[in-house]
């Protein structure tokens, strides 16, 4: 009788495991509805739920550069029924002093995309190339105003890294998000911005703005004519990125089911079109490589941010 019971339980256990997922999955988004993180999350989960055959419910939890949401994700039960979106801030919040965790405290599932910083000026300005711009800034230290999306934001780090790599001195003007910074650039209130190409795409297409350079390792397929700072000999690469994560300690089989499903969703035509429409560079990395990447970013920010903000 006992043996039978054990056998029965074993079968039940395998069935239960094999049956993953058999209830809705909660997906935590660290930003407000409508932004890039939110749209990326909602688009990929809406495809993945068709593959997994269970609904995925998205929950927006905002605040502290996403630290509140990520903390919630980190402390959730690692049963595969809670997952979330992690942006570049995953590697930044500890250095910023907002939270006490880093990428090593999660089971990372995959990286989805990167958005490099784009050094952008008005199209009617005197600078046609990035070299001209750098020379001008060198000749006029501490007079050129550069807008970013907020103190300690990735685009602020981008401008700081630009200064460091080119040996120049800028005036940093933090705005409340990237869109107001671009508006101030268009209105002639600041000289340049270092935000994502997504934010300046419309202005570039209508001939009001000009991207001088991208701060990425390779040229962007969206702007093939725009050089990178790397190819001009400045060793600097700053990009926002986004990926998916689970609380640490998820069962390897559950992990694999999720990884496969989301990879399929990522590769779907709908999602690829979404990425290119929004000006994001598709940049899939599997969990292992993503972890390596995120930790190297973490180490970089831990060194860079305290110096930059005087924290």
């Amino acid at each position: 009788m006992k043996k039978l019971l054990v056998a029965f339980l074993l079968i039940l256990a395998t069935l239960l495991l094999a049956a993953y997922p058999d209830k809705p999955i909660t997906f935590i988004i660290q930003a407000a509805p409508g932004g890039a993180s939110d749209m990326t999350s909602r688009t990929i989960t809406s495809i993945a739920q068709e593959i997994l055959k269970v609904p995925i419910t998205c929950t927006n939890i905002t605040g502290a550069s996403g630290a509140i949401a990520m903390k919630k994700l980190q402390t959730s039960k690692p049963d595969g029924y809670t997952m979330g979106y992690v942006p570049v801030e995953l590697s930044m919040v500890k250095a910023l002093g907002y939270a006490d965790f880093g990428p090593q405290d999660f089971d990372l599932l995959m990286r989805i995309m990167v958005i490099p910083a784009a050094v952008t000026v008005r199209a009617n300005s005197q600078w046609k190339t990035i070299q001209e711009f750098i020379e001008y800034v060198k000749a006029h230290p501490g007079t050129v105003t550069v807008g970013n999306s907020g103190p300690g934001s990735i685009w602020h780090i981008a401008a700081l890294s630009f200064e460091k790599a080119t040996g120049t001195k800028l005036i940093h003007v933090p705005f409340d998000g990237a869109a107001p910074a671009v508006a101030a650039l268009m209105g002639g209130h600041i000289t340049a911005v270092t935000v994502s190409p997504t934010e300046v795409k419309s202005g570039v297409e209508s001939g009001q703005l000009r991207i001088l350079a991208l701060m990425s390792d390779e040229r962007s397929p969206l702007f093939p004519d725009v050089p990178t700072l790397k190819e001009l000999g400045y060793d600097v690469s700053v990009a926002a990125w986004g990926g998916l994560a689970l609380p640490k300690g998820v069962d390897p089989e559950v992990y694999k089911i999720l990884a496969d499903a989301f990879k399929k969703a990522y590769e779907s035509e709908t999602f690829q079109k979404f990425l290119s429409d929004r000006g994001m560079t598709p940049a899939y990395l599997d969990g292992e490589k993503f972890k390596e990447f995120a930790i190297s970013q973490y180490n970089m920010f831990m060194e860079l941010i305290p110096k930059a903000l005087g924290k």
Binding site: P33, S46, L96, Y98, A99, I171, S202, D277
Partner: protein, 496 residues
């Protein structure tokens, strides 16, 4: 012309119209519920619309947006709780009218003038789209700062009887707005090491607590005290549809408010909440009976309801002509447009002209849609007031809590609702006005960040606020506004 015809038929496609109506109804529900904002509604519906064709998806989003801003006024009028931040100023006269037993007429005014504001906003988009957008761009940090100051000069007007109490309330609002990360240095201020406080105190829970929960607590208290003011029972609704004469006499106020709404809507980063407050104050200058403002003035209500819907056309203008968000909702709409394969910005008028016409016609249809169902729904909702008081109170508390939790899925926000609820109760008890607190909470951060930004750009030179033309004009207007409202108040209060 061919583009126009194509765009027109995209908009009046029966399926698009059905989705427009669906959006209008969702917007009515979301807008009326305190806490659920138009931004949230549009953001959550956006991914759902990707399974529809662009004209149908767009119809739904535009429907939700227009009717949510309109219906936020319904809860402002009936239960003194703005359904969305856009309707804060509608509580001043709207709820006063309800207390006078004129809830029906107040709701009717809300329908008619939201419609008029909405249509005037769309007209602005059609007629002066590009120049308006260009004007909006000339707003730099210095102009934003002086615009915030101009908005803050309203403080005396929203102070109620005592200017001193109003100013104390205003400074309380400023103090609360200081909590969180410093906008320029990113250092933590008054966060006590709490992660939840890093982004400051969220505005919507404070608003719901002060207005909604605070009102309920006060009513419960006042009832036990046995009301001695002899106010008429709120259950008396009165008629809903305003007469032609009433509508006509409110037209000057509405026109000025629409103009204010359109301009504030077009300026990126300033939205319907600010538009409503500024219009409410400034329209007094053309009002026939300015002394009634805040005591249940039809003109005051018409001003705020016109301005917040006129704001939509202004925000859409900036979004379509520049590709920049004019307010929070258009920031989400930009994402939606891109997903539909249309990049908002000047190029869209060249490459997707028919789509531009579709948007414009859908905006007009959305206004017509809420005008059509608005009266009916308003009449239905006034029935709510005839329910037993205890039932109304419980409903308001439950809806307020759901709404506040839903914004960030944060239990911390519920705590804020309760604290501000008790504060709102205490303020009513001691006759401290709520307007200044809200005004300071909305405009304080805008003033602070932009003043410091402007000073970074001018390298510390304060002259920047007086040498730039728009900024100077706003400074002068602020001084005039402050002086006249203070003097008037002194006069009416008998020098108090």
């Amino acid at each position: 012309m061919q583009q126009f015809i194509q765009g027109f038929f995209q908009a009046v496609d029966p399926r698009a119209v059905i989705y427009l109506l669906l959006g209008t109804f969702s917007g009515l529900v979301i807008g009326t519920l305190p806490g659920l904002t138009a931004t949230m509604a549009v953001a959550i519906l956006t991914p759902l619309t990707f399974w529809l064709s662009p004209n149908q998806g767009l119809a739904m989003l535009i429907g939700v947006w227009n009717s949510a801003i309109f219906s936020g006024g319904i809860s402002a009028i009936l239960i003194n709780t703005p359904g969305t931040p856009a309707s804060i100023a509608s509580t001043f006269d709207g709820f006063a009218l309800t207390k006078k037993g004129m809830a029906g007429l107040a709701l009717g005014i809300n329908v008619v003038f939201s419609f008029i504001g909405g249509i005037l906003g769309v007209l602005a988009l059609i007629v002066v789209g590009f120049p308006l957008a260009k004007f909006a761009l000339s707003f730099g940090p210095a102009e934003y700062f002086t615009l915030a100051i101009f908005g803050l000069s309203t403080m005396v007007a929203v102070s109620g009887k005592s200017i001193l109490k109003g100013i104390i309330a205003g400074f309380l609002g400023f103090s609360i707005s200081l909590i969180g990360l410093d906008p320029i240095f990113g250092s933590e201020r008054f966060t006590f090491g709490k992660m939840e406080l890093l982004n400051g105190i969220s505005f919507v829970p404070v608003m719901i607590g002060l207005f909604g929960i605070g009102e309920v607590f006060y009513q419960i208290f006042a009832k036990r005290q046995v009301v001695s003011t002899g106010a008429q029972p709120v259950t008396q609704l009165g008629r809903v549809v305003p007469t032609f004469k009433e509508t006509k006499s409110l037209t000057p106020v509405a026109l000025l408010s629409a103009l204010i709404g359109i301009i504030i809507g077009a300026i990126p980063g300033a939205g319907a909440d600010i538009a409503g407050l500024v219009a409410w104050d400034q329209s007094k200058r053309v009002a026939k009976k300015p002394q009634e403002y805040g005591q249940g003035s039809l003109e005051g209500l018409a001003a705020s309801t016109t301005a917040n819907n006129a704001c939509l056309g202004g925000a859409l203008t900036t979004m379509m002509a520049l590709g920049l968000p004019g307010d929070a909702v258009t920031a989400v709409l930009i994402g939606a447009f891109i997903m539909y394969g249309v990049q908002p910005g000047p190029v869209m008028f060249r490459d997707n002209a028919s789509f531009v016409y579709t948007v414009i016609i859908l905006m007009i249809l959305a206004n017509v849609a809420f005008l059509a169902v608005g009266f009916f729904v308003s009449k239905l909702l006034t029935k709510f007031l005839s329910l037993p008081q205890s039932f109304i109170w419980t409903t308001i508390i439950i809806l307020s809590l759901i709404g506040s939790y839903a914004i960030n899925n944060s239990a911390f926000d519920l705590l804020i609702v309760f604290i501000s609820g008790f504060a709102g109760f205490a303020f009513r008890l001691f006759d401290v006005p709520l307007g200044p607190i809200v005004l300071a909470l909305i405009l304080g951060p805008m003033a602070e960040a932009n003043m410091r930004r402007a000073l970074i750009l001018s390298q510390g030179n304060f002259a920047t606020f007086f040498t730039r033309p728009i900024s100077l004009v706003l400074v002068i207007l602020s001084v005039i506004s402050l002086l006249t409202s203070t003097l008037k108040k002194k006069a009416t209060n008998g020098g108090r």
